[in-house]
Amino acid sequence: MSGYIKNVAEMRPGEVAIISGFTDEQLSVKLMEMGCLPGAPVRFNFTAAFGDPICISVSGYELSLRLEEASTISIIN
């Protein structure tokens, strides 16, 4: 295992992972309020036409995020 931590922006459509943490404090609170919680499984559903924004499923909700926002969510899989 290297020191590099994967994030949601790097996932492929259909991929499932577990949220491990956040890299942007300000965004993390909003993400958690919307249901993105550390330890919760997250599924990368699909992207919009130009690859951005993306749609994910987490805690039973479908959320849309920009890639830069998704890249602040760290994952393990």
Partner: protein, 705 residues
């Protein structure tokens, strides 16, 4: 109990069914006002409870937590943190979507801790049951220390029980959910002692959210500031930790009260629809078809009722003239006030149709998908994915389009959308465009099949669109805000719209326009009427005699004479004098004082340009079908300085460009005033659009002449 009316604040996540519940509780007894000191709209209404008392229900903006993400959400903290004031709600009604409660419980747990009497309404119990979800509601009520009522806001099930509970006397929640952190115990204690705050969490919120404390006096705000400085508070210091702790409490709670959990299989329908509606090609094809349908409907369906309103008010005017004694009061009523009110009513069909569509898009969950698809493109220009709908509707009319920007949460993106929407060529520009194009562009075909006049018209629409996009991009660079733009948004499950909610939206938007923007439109139209109907000195009084004297040697029909008198009167009215006064300013654009008068009068609405030109050139009152008469008259007009035609291509194109960019619409100014709650933005808009119009017209005229 006192006879004081009960105040109940309605709080919930977006898409939790909050507006359905609000509409069910209050019916048509809704009114719109403002929260003091802020630009956020306050929706409230009355609900009669089983004990025959009336409760005021205040619909607070949908939010995910007590920590605001936008100006709208700020109101929730403002209202709920301000205890012991006349505006403090007596109870807070929290609505949660029972099909997925986690996020709703986060907000609920914060509200319980703030310490106002709280009721939980669990909505969409039928969908939850279908998904196989069930809760032990008694256990839940006991655990939370508040009453819990299962409801279905779409068909009104459970609302009688809810109203019964709303009318019962109730104290603050029995339990506290989240004890305040060890680190903040000391500052919280200090603050509570100094300001007599009701409970720990409320005091803690004071420290976390100094922005929400506008209700405190300056001295008290200073006390909060001092404690914040002393203990090195910064916004959001413990917010993340608090959120995690609350969620872990919620997880434990759910483990205890859930009888049966769901497998979310019912969401599959939504996912399947998204595969088509968000498809990389078909998604856009469908979206632009929907936009085109909306646009066509505003254009086509609104025409008949608009013509009807137009003729009813015209007939009312002439009826009043015929029955009332002639005099200044009668003409004020018949020629100033009645047409002014008609000018407000004429917008109702377009507003109603656009908001029917927008409300359906919002209710069905499709609007969030529109944002999802358009975000990337629109963001580049400082706009929002939702800006597409106002921009497109602006091609029909800017008034409903600007009202439609309400759906944009981000303040900066909303303001930019409002500022650039009037640049889209609206239908009122069409009569001006048609007449001028027919005058200067030959009716010929280019390349065998392109009609030149059609190309010119299309070019003007394109010009307006490019100006809108370009201005948006410039404003994105100019307007600086601290508010960070982010998308993080729910894609709600698709639902069939609730038609009564669509109806309420139409009524609400129409009322807001007629009663708020209407006042300003009426005032300006009366001022413009006075300017065009009165003049200084006796040259105006003697109009008839002068014209009779002048045309002594010409044989004129009675109608021809009346037309000449009207032209003379307009020339010597205040509007005429202003038109002549601005001649030096508009001369570089190729205009004379006659066009100057038309510019002044058409500030009411662009299409007035055609009527004024007709009056000035004494063609008499004309309707659209007489456009050819005006055209011939304008074509024959000679420029005394050059001896050539007055309306050269240079003048014509200069006018076309001017009308493409100029604000020239008092109703737009009125609605921007209403939507931005102040004169700052409408004045900036009027200035930049007029400057843009003037400079472009100057450039075009100087280039072509």
């Amino acid at each position: 109990m006192s006879s004081r009316k009960l105040k109940i604040a309605l709080v919930g996540n977006p898409n939790s069914g909050k507006s359905s519940l609000f509409n069910y509780l209050t019916g048509l007894n809704q009114k719109i006002g403002n929260f003091p000191g802020v630009t956020v709209e306050k929706k409230s209404g009355y609900c009669v409870l089983p004990d025959d008392t009336a409760a005021e229900i205040i619909d607070l903006p949908g939010t995910y937590s007590i920590y605001p993400r936008s100006l709208d959400e700020q109101i929730v903290a403002d209202v709920l943190l301000n205890h012991h004031s006349p505006t403090t709600p007596d109870k807070v009604l929290v609505i949660i979507d029972a099909t997925n409660v986690k996020r709703g419980f986060l907000l609920l747990s914060q509200i319980i801790d703030i310490g106002l009497p709280t009721i939980l309404a669990l909505n969409m119990m039928d969908l939850a049951a279908k998904a196989g979800i069930s809760y032990d509601l008694n256990a839940l009520s006991k655990k939370l220390g508040i009453p819990v009522v299962p409801i279905n806001a779409r068909n009104g099930i459970g609302l009688d029980e809810l109203k019964k509970i709303m009318s019962k006397p109730q104290g603050p929640p029995a339990n506290h959910i989240n004890a305040v952190w060890k680190e903040v115990e000391k500052p919280v204690k200090e603050l509570r002692a100094l300001l007599k705050v009701d409970n720990d969490y409320e005091a803690y919120q004071f420290l976390e959210q100094p922005k929400s404390l506008r209700f405190l006096t300056k001295e008290k705000q200073q006390v909060v500031e001092d404690i914040r400085a002393k203990y090195e508070f910064f916004p959001g210091k413990f917010q993340g930790a608090e959120t995690i702790q609350r969620y872990s409490y919620i997880q434990d709670l759910l483990n205890e009260v859930t009888l049966n959990a769901s497998d979310h299989s019912w969401k599959k329908n939504s996912t399947r629809l998204d595969r088509i509606l968000l498809h990389k090609v078909w998604g856009y094809v469908i979206f632009f078809s929907v936009l085109f349908l909306i646009f066509q409907s505003i254009f086509a369906w609104a025409e008949l009722p608009m013509d009807l309103i137009d003729s009813v008010f015209a007939e009312l005017s002439s009826y009043l003239i015929s029955v009332l004694p002639a005099g200044p009061l009668t003409s004020l009523l018949a020629e100033g006030i009645v047409p002014g009110i008609g000018g407000i009513m004429i917008f109702i069909p377009q507003i109603a149709i656009l908001f029917a569509f927008i409300s359906i898009l919002e209710e069905s969950g499709y609007m969030a998908r529109v944002v999802f698809m358009m975000d990337k493109v629109m963001r580049k220009f400082g706009l929002n994915g939702k800006s597409v709908v106002p921009l497109m509707s602006g091609v029909a009319c800017a008034i409903p389009a600007i009202m439609a920007t309400r759906t944009i949460d981000n303040w900066k993106e909303r303001t930019i959308t409002i500022m650039v929407t009037p640049l889209m060529s609206c239908s009122a520009r069409l009569p001006v465009f048609t007449i001028l194009i027919a005058l200067i562009v030959p009716n010929q075909k280019a390349l065998g099949f392109f009609n030149l006049q059609g190309l010119a018209l299309m070019g003007l629409y394109l010009l307006g669109f490019l100006a809108a996009i370009g201005s948006a991009w410039i404003m994105k660079l100019l307007i600086r805000v601290k508010e960070r733009s982010f998308l993080i948004m729910e894609l709600p499950t698709y639902r069939i719209p609730k038609w009564s909610n669509v109806g309420y939206t139409i009524v609400e938007k129409t009322k807001a326009f007629v009663f708020e923007a209407g006042k300003i439109i009426l005032a300006i139209s009366i001022i413009l009427w006075v300017l065009a109907s009165y003049g200084p000195g006796d040259s105006f009084q003697k109009a008839e005699a002068v014209v009779l004297e002048e045309s002594k040697n010409i044989r004129l029909t009675e109608e021809g004479l009346a037309d000449r008198i009207a032209a003379y009167k307009l020339e010597h009215s205040y509007a005429g004098i202003i038109g002549k006064a601005i001649e030096p300013i508009i001369k570089p654009l190729g205009y004379d004082w006659k066009i100057g008068i038309a510019l002044i009068t058409s500030f009411a609405a662009r299409e007035v340009f055609v009527g004024t030109m007709a009056t000035i050139y004494s063609i008499g009152s004309v309707s659209d079908s007489d456009a050819e008469t005006i055209q011939e008259r304008l074509k024959a007009e000679i420029n005394p300085e050059t001896g050539g035609a007055r309306f050269t291509p240079a003048v014509g194109f200069s006018l076309l460009v001017f009308y493409t960019f100029a604000m020239q619409c008092m109703s737009t100014i009125a609605i921007v005033y209403r939507e931005t709650k102040g004169w700052k933005w409408p004045l900036i808009q009027l200035t930049y659009m007029t400057a843009l119009a003037y400079l472009s017209a100057l450039f075009v005229y100087q280039l072509l002449s």
